[in-house]
């Protein structure tokens, strides 16, 4: 032994169990931080893919552009990408509630919409008059021909903010390709067909040959300034700018929402916050394990440290001895943890992604997806170094109290022998019915520090478990798209409507959880400007009056700030919400538009309604907004205003595991009974979105697994320590007749108590995190729904895991000799 430093190494070798436990904790925490760092990259890449799939690989689009404006954009070097398209018009697909939009793309323009251009058969159109259409559109059109055959489409097109209603025409195309169905389009009510280049010039009047240019800016940080500056340069108004907010949110690019001054930070910052929080919890849990184990290890050897102090060792030297032990373990643990972390991150993602269709992520097959994952998971040296540094820092911080304890020990006290004095406040004489449980409770109180740390590390796991389920919702870029439809189906009849009895019939059907409804009437002006409905106000030319009757839930969704009194006023027919018309520009000048704001009063059918505020569009699913004033009232009030009680649209929501076929049969029957009805299922849309969400969720489960293992490690350590520090007691208990089974029960009760207490605290903490996660998503703090299922899962799993983790060291008890235990000097 050349130096006293060698003592550190010798101590590590002597205390194999302790050293192994600390080593595992270091490996696991490095793995965790590495997995978080690596997975975050992978997750972000997958989210971007997901967002691109939904709305194209573009940040925004300028609409209604002339050819000159389009060329200016293509030449602008502030844009890293600019691809254009022209809309030829939309064709109504009978009995479906969806429309077929025909677009002509330039080569670049189509490249950013891979889901739109996936061919099932044939080829993409190459010249004017050729078209490729989705399979479902062809089915709805009743097309029975094949590739190369002619197909006639009834198209209509209108310009944004145009005084003229629309232009209708019929065009013959040659079908060159059949496209794969894209159910995501069902949410917006539009599926896309592709026309060959030159078709627009051939078919459309010049007025309608307007371009849309999708673009990405070269500099993400100055995105909004670039957009504003370009808009100014090519002289287009904010109304013609469409932001791809799903993608922008994912990328964390700041942009102006709906022309307001408010700048939206995007979901990424919340995601980052969630990541940091989870990472911090994980590190804290790992830190607690290291602290707990080291503290116990040092306590066991405190006599040795006392002797060293008596021999003249300085405090600093003892600090160093403890730190060196940890450094040695970090040296072995961190590289191993980093390697395992990289493998795990990639492994978890690949395993998860193999369950889902690669198309969701805009790649053609699993191999491509794996390549994508590999690209995003390797070569990230910085996160690796950061995770190593963070783990080391946490480990050393965790080791500090133990090192301090060792360094400050009084040699005389230690050599004389330390006898810890047991304190117990509660000594009430109660009948002890279950000695094992009673003794377990006492033991937990007796080692309060150890108990707190063990429970705390478990609490971390449970908090992460509960909270991550809320966070994973934030990670899901598709969630916003799912909100676009109210039910699992949309059943529409905009002529006669559905009788209330139909709604009741649907509601009472097995498998139907609820039915949202919409009553909707649209009134156009007579030539003299009067309206069929008695409106106490005058509309501007071209505007319509629309009255919508919705239920309480939808009113709340339209205006979350509604108070109880507001709701009461709405129900009593004293108030309404209003959606104002869009301001129309005609020949470059903005025309007049009717406008109501909160506090105004509108009169409809001789009823005075106070405007509570302006809301978003309330209309039929998959129908555009017909410009006009929308007066939104409570369901029953609608009947009084319009004299009608029929429903225009029904949105049934199914229970889990409902017989969809039976429900669909019923819907068909309803549609058959009421002429002019149509329906659409969002099942495939939701399924497609749900799959991509599950992917993200599974990765989150990987994270939960790691933190769970760390928590269990602490239980194993605590139980081991409890056994070692109580050997004498165990021997005595055995001597006076305690069976091994009874002894096991005592320790198992301790494990169960750890699990039960931790699950209660962890559930509360998890719920609080859920509230914050929801607040991050909705920008307002309110009590979130109690995540009962995750809480129950966490509680059951933690108690079970605690029991299992306790069983591991219990085998030591069976091997203990009673006589040796009694004679064991603690």
């Amino acid at each position: 032994m050349k130096s006293y430093h060698a003592f550190a190494w010798k101590e590590l070798k002597t205390q194999k169990t302790t050293s192994t436990l600390i080593l595992i904790a270091i490996i696991l925490s490095t793995m965790m931080t590495t997995v978080i760092g690596q997975s975050w990259g992978i997750l972000q890449a997958l989210r971007e893919q997901q967002a691109q799939t939904m709305n194209g690989n573009r940040y925004a689009a300028f609409h209604n552009l002339t050819k000159e404006q389009k060329m200016l954009l293509e030449d602008d070097d502030r844009l890293s990408f600019a691809g254009s398209n022209i809309t030829l018009g939309t064709a109504r697909l009978k009995n479906s509630g969806i429309s077929l939009q025909i677009k002509e793309y330039d080569e670049k323009g189509l490249s950013i919409y891979p889901t739109v251009s996936q061919l099932v058969k044939g080829r993409l159109p190459q010249k004017a008059g050729e078209v490729a259409l989705p399979q479902d559109a062809l089915d709805y059109l009743g097309f029975s021909g094949g590739l190369g055959d002619s197909i006639t489409l009834d198209l209509r097109i209108s310009l944004f903010k145009d005084a003229e209603v629309y232009h209708e025409y019929q065009a013959d195309f040659t079908l060159t390709g059949i496209l794969k169905n894209n159910y995501l389009g069902y949410s917006s009510g539009i599926v896309t067909g592709i026309a060959g280049q030159g078709s627009a010039e051939k078919l459309l009047p010049e007025k309608y040959q307007v371009y849309s240019v999708d673009f990405r800016t070269a500099d993400k940080r100055s995105f909004q300034q670039t957009v504003n500056s370009i808009a100014e340069k090519i002289e287009i108004s904010g109304d013609h700018i469409q932001y791809n907010w799903i993608y922008l949110d994912v990328l964390g690019i700041r942009y102006d929402k709906e022309g307001s001054d408010e700048s939206i930070a995007g979901g990424f910052s919340y995601m980052t916050a969630a990541g940091i929080l989870i990472g911090a919890l994980v590190l804290l849990a790992a830190g607690l394990v290291i602290y707990n184990i080291l503290k116990i290890a040092v306590s066991k050897r405190i006599k040795e440290y006392g002797i060293l102090r008596a021999m003249g060792a300085r405090q600093g030297q003892l600090y160093r001895l403890v730190a060196e032990q940890l450094a040695l373990l970090c040296l072995a643990g961190i590289p191993s943890g980093a390697v395992l972390g990289i493998i795990s991150a990639e492994g978890i993602t690949k395993a998860a992604s193999s369950l889902f269709s690669p198309e969701i992520f805009m790649v053609q097959n699993t191999e491509e997806l794996n390549t994508l994952i590999a690209q995003n998971s390797s070569g990230r040296l910085l996160p690796l170094l950061v995770s190593a540094a963070i783990t080391s820092a946490f480990a050393f911080i965790a080791a500090m109290p133990a090192a301090r304890y060792a360094a400050r020990v009084s040699p005389t006290v230690v050599i004389r022998g330390i006898k810890s004095k047991v304190k117990r406040r509660n000594r009430k004489e109660k009948k002890i019915r279950n000695f094992e449980a009673f003794y377990a409770r006492l033991n937990m109180k007796r080692n309060a520090g150890r108990t707190v740390i063990t429970i705390l590390s478990l609490v971390m796991s449970i908090t992460v478990f509960v909270a991550i389920q809320a966070f994973s919702g934030l990670l899901d870029a598709s969630r916003e798209l799912q909100k676009l439809h109210l039910g699992d189906y949309s059943i529409t009849n905009d002529s006669t409507g559905f009788k209330p009895s139909v709604v009741e019939e649907l509601k009472s059907m097995e498998g139907v959880a609820s039915v949202s409804t919409l009553k909707f009437s649209l009134y156009t002006q007579e030539k003299d400007g009067t309206l069929p409905a008695a409106a106490g106000f005058k509309l501007n030319p071209g505007e319509t009056l629309q009255i919508a009757g919705v239920d309480e839930e939808r009113l709340k969704a339209l205006m979350p700030s509604l108070t109880k009194d507001d709701m009461q006023a709405l129900k009593e027919g004293k108030a309404c919400l209003v959606k104002n018309p869009v301001i129309i520009a005609y020949e470059g000048k903005q025309g007049p538009a009717t406008s109501f704001t909160a506090g105004d009063t509108v009169s409809v059918a001789n009823k005075e309604l106070k405007v509570l505020g302006n809301c978003g569009i309330v209309g039929l699913d998959n129908e555009g907004f017909v410009n006009g004033v929308q007066v939104v009232v409570f369901d029953k009030v609608y009947d009084q205003l319009t004299g009608k009680d029929t429903y225009t649209e029904l949105y049934p929501v199914l229970e889990d595991g409902a017989d969809r076929l039976a429900v669909e049969e019923k819907i068909k029957e309803i549609c058959g009974q009421t002429a002019g009805s149509r329906w659409i299922s969002y099942q495939n849309t939701d399924k497609q979105l749900e799959e991509s969400y599950q992917q993200i969720k599974l990765i989150s489960w990987g994270l939960i697994l790691f933190i769970g293992i760390i928590g269990l490690l602490n239980i194993v350590n605590t139980t081991c320590t409890n056994i070692h520090t109580r050997i004498g007691e165990i021997g005595m208990q055995r001597a006076i007749g305690m069976s091994t089974a009874s002894l096991y029960k005592t320790f198992l009760w301790e494990g169960a108590y750890y699990g039960m207490i931790a699950s209660v605290i962890g559930s509360v903490a998890g719920y609080i995190c859920t509230i914050f996660a929801e607040a991050a998503a909705t920008n307002q703090i309110k009590l979130a729904a109690l995540p009962i299922i995750p809480i129950l899962q966490a509680a059951t799993a933690s108690v079970a895991a605690c029991l299992a983790a306790t069983c591991v060291p219990l085998s030591q008890i069976a091997k203990l000799s009673i006589v040796e235990s009694i004679e064991y000097v603690e």
């Binding site: 004095k421 047991v422 000695f435 003794y439 005595m732 001597a735 006076i736 007749g737």
Partner: protein, 224 residues
């Protein structure tokens, strides 16, 4: 009640390192016996007590309780035997530090899923002079008081035999004398068999039957 140890031997180690802790010892304990086993440190007296009380298995020989070999019992039955038939008093007291004196005393009953007989509890705690110390933790009691608590614990399950391993070894002479007097009066009043291990000849003299042990060889001291 008869506990009988026949040809009891205990070895540690192998070959050249083999140590004989107990060499073919024979001992029979009947109801009402008061036996002392005396010998110097390392003579094998504690080994003998551990073996005969069911704590440690002999390398050879048998221990029977009313004719039944106790080392043929499984852990459950052997534990029950120790709980119900045997009472232990240790030199180190071996009380559970987290339990009060009363809880320590009743522990053998609780392990047996039984509740204490309060009048018997009162009787023995008053006999031992600890009835006013029952809510104290062991750390709050003197050595003599702790040993009295340990004696009460040994008696609570009304065992047939009490084994005391150097019961006065950790006490000053005054407390030691008090404890021995108490043990003797308990033996007389309750009619239990009492086996005391000691290296103190004065303590050993109190017993009716006396044994000595040296280098693992047990021999009974005959009167005269």
């Amino acid at each position: 009640m008869i506990i009988e140890g026949k040809d009891l031997s205990k070895y540690y180690g192998n070959g050249e390192n083999k140590i004989v802790a107990l060499n073919k010892a024979n001992l029979k304990i009947a109801s009402g016996d008061f036996i002392s086993i005396m010998g110097p440190s390392g003579s094998g007296k504690s080994t003998l007590l551990h073996i005969i009380s069911g704590l440690d298995m002999p390398s050879s020989g048998t221990v029977t309780f009313d004719g039944k070999n106790i080392y043929e019992m499984d852990d459950k039955d052997l534990s029950a035997f120790r709980r119900r038939k045997i009472g232990f008093i240790f030199q180190q007291f071996n009380l559970l530090p987290v339990l009060t004196a009363k809880e320590n005393i009743i522990m053998p009953l609780l392990l047996d899923r039984r509740q204490p007989d309060e009048s018997y509890m009162k009787q023995i705690t008053e006999l031992l002079g600890i009835s006013n110390r029952l809510s104290h933790l062991p750390g709050e009691l003197s050595g003599g008081q702790q040993q009295r608590v340990a004696i009460a614990r040994a008696l609570i399950a009304k065992p047939d035999v009490i084994f005391a391993d150097e019961p006065t070894g950790n006490l000053d002479s005054k407390s030691g004398n008090e404890v021995m007097e108490m043990l003797k009066s308990i033996w007389k009043e309750l009619g239990k068999a009492l086996v005391i291990i000691t290296h103190d000849s004065r303590v050993a003299q109190m017993a009716e039957r006396r044994f000595t042990i040296a280098d693992g060889v047990l021999s009974e001291v005959t009167a005269g």
